[in-house]
């Protein structure tokens, strides 16, 4: 018998020694260790690290109570199944998402949020997290079903930004959007077929932007909850934008209007 959940590898939380439990690379591992939010089960660092870097790792690991072993580079590569570890690998517990209530408890006045509707590609997810964090958005809400989980690929392509922007996970995106509306948010959709141009929208009030699945866009149940469907005006003859680029153009405009 085929268990259907086995096919959706990147959507499951993985607890075994799979390489998606590991994050690797100096920048991502150090950022995660510094932030101290995503629990590290085991940290492996290379015996080739410089003296200062080693001291920094021991200080941070002591601060957050992380078990650390110093091993050779081959052992690290064997653990995280990648040669691009730069002397750092960490085995992670499942990513600790917030609930919508926890997100709400921490958001500032007049927040800007993004809702991700069933994003499939971990690289897109990571790139959107990176842009949302760099452009100063206040939080990300994602669904529990059909959505790629926060795993090592997402962590790497976010360049460590998953540690800096709150990410909430909810069973029902529809209900989450309804309650956000109750808090006074306007709901906008990013859609190729949107009737309003991006530059005509007003982001002065609390705003939630919905980014849809790479293939079929935003699901109808969410689209009908939107106040506005925004499109980025195309000036070429052909083509479509990548989800992460489209999302970033939208985030930039939201932030730009606030700054002005």
């Amino acid at each position: 018998m085929v268990n259907s959940s086995r096919r959706r590898g990147s959507q499951r939380e993985i607890l075994t020694n799979h390489n998606r439990c590991w994050i690797w690379g100096r920048h991502v591992v150090l950022e995660t260790l510094r932030a101290g939010r995503w629990p590290i089960l085991e940290l492996c660092v290379s015996d080739q690290l410089g003296h200062e870097l080693k001291a920094e790792v021991w200080r941070l690991a002591g601060l957050h109570g992380v078990e650390t072993t110093v091993v050779n580079d081959q052992a690290i590569a064997k653990s995280c199944h990648s040669g691009e570890h730069q002397g750092f690998a960490a085995r992670m517990s499942p990513f600790p998402c917030f609930s919508l209530e926890e997100l709400q408890a921490n958001w500032p006045a007049n927040p800007l949020l993004v809702v991700l509707d069933r994003l499939q590609d971990p690289y897109n997810f990571g790139a959107i997290v990176r842009s949302a964090s760099a452009l100063g958005l206040d939080g990300i809400v994602m669904g529990a079903k059909g959505q790629v989980a926060v795993n090592s690929l997402v962590a790497r392509s976010s360049a460590g930004a998953i540690n800096h922007i709150p990410i909430a996970r909810t069973e029902s995106l529809g209900e989450a959007i309804d309650s956000l509306r109750g808090f006074g948010f306007q709901i906008v959709a990013a859609s190729e077929k949107g009737s309003t141009k991006l530059c005509e929208a007003d982001f002065g009030r609390p705003t939630v932007a919905i980014i849809g699945n790479e293939g079929d866009g935003i699901q109808p149940a969410l689209l009908k909850r939107c106040d506005l469907a925004l499109r980025i005006p195309m000036s070429g003859q052909v083509g479509s934008l990548n989800a992460a680029v489209a999302a970033s153009v939208l985030f930039y405009e939201m932030r730009r209007q606030r700054q002005n």
């Binding site: 000036s235 930039y252 730009r256």
Partner: protein, 251 residues
């Protein structure tokens, strides 16, 4: 040289723009997706061979490569010929104002592909890539560009300083991008055609290139926490400059 493309959007774009360069379409023995079926139909109209890809047993032996996904369809194409740099700045090309890009030593094929895709969307008139220390235009670039390489003319320059001179003499203003620039892109006047230059992912623009630029600009909010990925930053800049060249709305 031929390339094996796996993104149906990029194959579709080649079929529509230069069908004679599609050498073969390979479908998986399983039911092909609707998109690949449409590609196969179009290929047959152009009398391009459509084959079933390797049998299951043979496929198993090649499945060690990461990109050799089970059941994946593909197409073999010839690469698109680049133009000479001069051909991007002819009087015909520059008669109507627009935006050109130069990518100086961009090394990640995903970034190059992503920039081509966005450039096609925003109607960029030409892209110049530097010859040395740049990602070659591999199948990955074509697939990430999702058809963008077929719609934006490009050239490969061995000397970017000469390219900048050519662009200047064709009436373009030269806009370098740097997260350390003092001027935000929004305050750049957009009354003429423009060559927008992006530097290497790690080191940015070379000093000599910066000196050759008319001005340097950055995004308004970049650099507060961490920098954006270059292809994302390029997307935002293209969107801002494309917007500026359209009739302005009150804001």
């Amino acid at each position: 040289m031929s390339l094996i493309l796996r993104n149906p959007h990029s194959v579709d774009a080649v079929l529509r723009t230069r069908p004679t360069d599609v050498l073969e379409v390979r479908l998986s023995p399983n039911q092909p997706s609707p998109r690949w079926s449409a590609i196969a139909d179009l290929a047959r109209q152009h009398e391009i061979p459509v084959r079933m890809s390797l049998a299951a047993s043979e496929r198993h032996s090649t499945s060690r490569g990461k990109s050799e996904r089970v059941g994946a369809a593909s197409a073999i194409i010839s690469e698109r010929n680049e133009l000479l740099v001069d051909q991007l700045f002819t009087p015909e090309m520059t008669a109507v104002s627009g935006l050109w890009l130069a990518l100086e030593q961009l090394q990640d094929p995903h970034n190059v592909g992503a920039i081509f895709r966005t450039a096609a969307f925003f109607g960029v008139k030409g892209i110049i890539l530097t010859k040395d220390h740049s990602a070659p235009l591999t199948a990955t670039v074509y697939d990430v560009a999702s058809g963008g390489l077929e719609f934006v003319p490009f050239a490969i320059a061995s000397n970017l300083s000469r390219t900048i001179l050519l662009a200047k003499s064709a009436g373009l203003s030269i806009l370098g991008t740097s997260e350390h620039a003092e001027e935000a892109v929004e305050s750049v006047p957009l009354d003429s055609s423009c060559l927008l230059i992006f530097g290497n992912e790690e080191h940015g623009l070379r000093r000599v290139t910066q000196q050759n630029c008319d001005r340097l600009c950055r995004l308004q909010h970049q650099g507060e926490i961490q920098s954006l990925n270059v292809s994302v930053a390029a997307g935002i800049l293209m969107s801002t400059l494309a917007k500026g060249s359209q009739p302005k709305k009150g804001n």
